[in-house]
Symmetry: C2
Subunit: 150 residues, 2 copies
Amino acid sequence: MPRPRASAGQPPAVVADRLHSAAIHLLRALRRRDVASGLSAPRLSALSVVVFGGPLTLGALAAAEQVRPPTMTHLVRALEGEGLVARAADPVDGRVVHVRATAKGRDVLARGRALRVALLARALTRLSRADRTTLAGAAAIIERILPGMQ
Amino acid sequence: MPRPRASAGQPPAVVADRLHSAAIHLLRALRRRDVASGLSAPRLSALSVVVFGGPLTLGALAAAEQVRPPTMTHLVRALEGEGLVARAADPVDGRVVHVRATAKGRDVLARGRALRVALLARALTRLSRADRTTLAGAAAIIERILPGMQ
DNA sequence: TGGTAATAGTTAGCTCTGCTAACTATTATG
DNA sequence: CATAATAGTTAGCAGAGCTAACTATTACCA
């Protein structure tokens, strides 16, 4: 990728390219900590949604995590197998499955997520407050524009 | 995750957590475009390093991409199979394998990468220049701190 | 009311990515 | 020259994600 002049406005394509690379590399670096927390990135992410998003259907969870239902079935089964979430049948609609977090799930999320981001958090500690603000702002912008990207 | 007051300095753990989520969701959103470009994220990323980082050994490529040698062997084989990179034996050291991009590789990178980030780039187009600057800055910060994170 | 259509999940089967362990081949070293 | 170190590869595994096809349930409507 050609480097634009620092003073120039960043062309969207260049910014997109760099964000993309940064996201790939960031996740690869963090993935190593999965072993420590015992949860992979997708599982941790799904568990997080369940814990903070309250009980929700499998389909809603799949939509929130932007994966297909079969993928979420698989993830939920794994989480259920570890006792981190529980299924519950809908009292009215027999097709629907509700997923809720268990106490253990909330516990593991807190620990695992902390472990997982600890490495990154430690690195961030060494940054200036301005840099941290930039990163936080970027994360917010990304989450804001993602829904409209489909 | 608790939301800190907007005016407060962002605690590293919170920023780390948000960055993590944003990276996961961003990549999931972009992955859909892989089909369009014909290259997956890891292949595109590796090809990018080869194209812009000149010929380099398989080991160096693995290190640059932060994966283990067997993983890179596999990626290179796939890229080689599509005629995007080529292997070359080292004239002096018989153990070493040099990987270089082919003309087709450079071509496909330009097109594929463009396609892949086009969706994101289009979304970025709708942002303010300030937001784009924030994102570009964040990407730079991330790439800067990653090597020290091991 | 009863048959068809739509919806929610699951199962089956595939690809890709990534790992570790174990191996080969080559080079360096004591 | 024998041994150790290095560079890659092979083998075999698990996880994540997909599509297609299936089951079970609910909704609709003629």
